[in-house]
Symmetry: C2
Subunit: 246 residues, 2 copies
């Protein structure tokens, strides 16, 4: 029997999903932040994560396209601005490419996504599809992993700067911007979910949507860990397969 | 510069994809067939693979729905019959469930897919989407992994019967049926691709479609290997997480 929670109880339930399942708990992140990876492993992370970054504005436009609520569309539009910028050379995707180039990766190879792990592409696609196919409430709720991102970002930036001589503050500029953007986005989305999840079923759907999104992030790190850490089984065609690290 | 191949050269190129990328080369399959897995690991394989089996008739109906070629629809329809049967209790999905139950798994848990790995679900979904969104030629070509399946099936059946005392010939009935069905399906699809891939671009698209499908199968075994073999990191919520093997 599912009961109706108060908005604050719902928030607590959503936060509990993050505490149990957010990818800051994944061993790969601990290795990344703790300086335990070599440059190729960090490169693999950056070029796979690019696939996720590149899909985010598509995901956000998909959400905007689904609602006739002008205010929701207007507020959500800021996410497009954040990722695509207001002119060429700006925005989160460009900053991610700067990170990848700072790591010595070829920009066009990264953009082509052809050396990324298939599992990365499948997970990213599942996220975009989810936002297109599920209820608007679930689509919004799936963004709530951003509630948990300030912690992971600050761990990541300090850990990576301290531990890798091939990482500079400049290459990590992407994350500085996200430290302001993510909490603002998460506050809005959390408030939206708390106001619009008015039945037990809707509340459970919102929790399930956040769980799904945690799975999307976790699966990406599973794939990286499997291919590049342990047991180190790089799938055919992916970055590093047959010893080709480009 | 891509050149036009003869139909037989195209077939050779397709077979080369399988030789390099078909999942019989994956370490998890070698462990499975070689009797190196314990019952829980084989259970994990069966319940994850169920997600793939359950999606196959959806994939096939998606393909049928896309073509106004009555002959193609009629021939492809046999795949629906094979998987869904002609009456309740028949067909490949029921035989797969018998395998899962023969391994001691709860049928409803398997059907619910809620203990499957997220990466499995993402890969399976990517396959169905591919068949819906790409050209009909690519959709047909993505089925060509069946060219390579008779070998893996006979290895699997003999290896599993010889090595696992919890496996009987009865539980493996699914594979007996596939030994006849897969070559028939593959012959038709290969002939279709050889006749319809008439430009270099179409031929390359067919090769890429088969490569994609190999990635879909490979990613499923990567996820199983990662979660249940090495390093044995079971994602939150999946079969065996927190020591719950049901």
């Amino acid at each position: 029997m599912t009961v109706l929670m108060s908005p604050d109880e719902l928030e607590a339930a959503l936060r509990a999903v993050g505490a149990a399942r957010y990818h800051n708990r994944h061993p790969f992140h601990q290795l990344l932040h703790g300086g335990k990876l070599d440059k190729r492993q960090v490169q693999a992370w950056a070029l796979n994560r690019y696939c996720y970054q590149a899909a985010i504005p598509i995901k956000d436009a998909t959400l905007i396209a689904r609602t006739d609520d002008s205010e929701l569309r207007r507020i959500w539009r800021q996410r497009l601005v954040d990722h695509d910028g207001t002119q060429p050379g700006e925005g989160g995707i460009v900053r991610w490419l700067a990170l990848a180039e700072g790591l010595g990766l070829d920009r066009d190879m990264v953009i082509s996504e052809r050396r990324a792990l298939p599992a990365t592409r499948f997970a990213v696609r599942a996220y975009v599809d989810f936002v297109r196919d599920r209820s608007l409430l679930e689509a919004v709720a799936s963004s709530l992993t951003e509630m948990f991102s300030p912690t992971i970002i600050s761990e990541r930036v300090s850990g990576m700067l301290a531990n890798y001589d091939f990482i500079t503050r400049e290459t990590l500029a992407y994350f500085n911007a996200r430290l302001d953007q993510a909490p603002r986005d998460a506050d809005f989305a959390l408030d939206y979910v708390k106001r619009h999840a008015r039945t037990p079923e809707q509340q459970q759907a919102a929790i399930a949507a956040l769980t799904f999104k945690c799975d999307v992030l976790w699966a990406q790190l599973d794939a990286l860990h499997h291919a590049y850490v342990s047991p180190g089984l790089i799938p055919p065609g992916a970055f590093g397969h047959d010893g080709i690290w480009s």
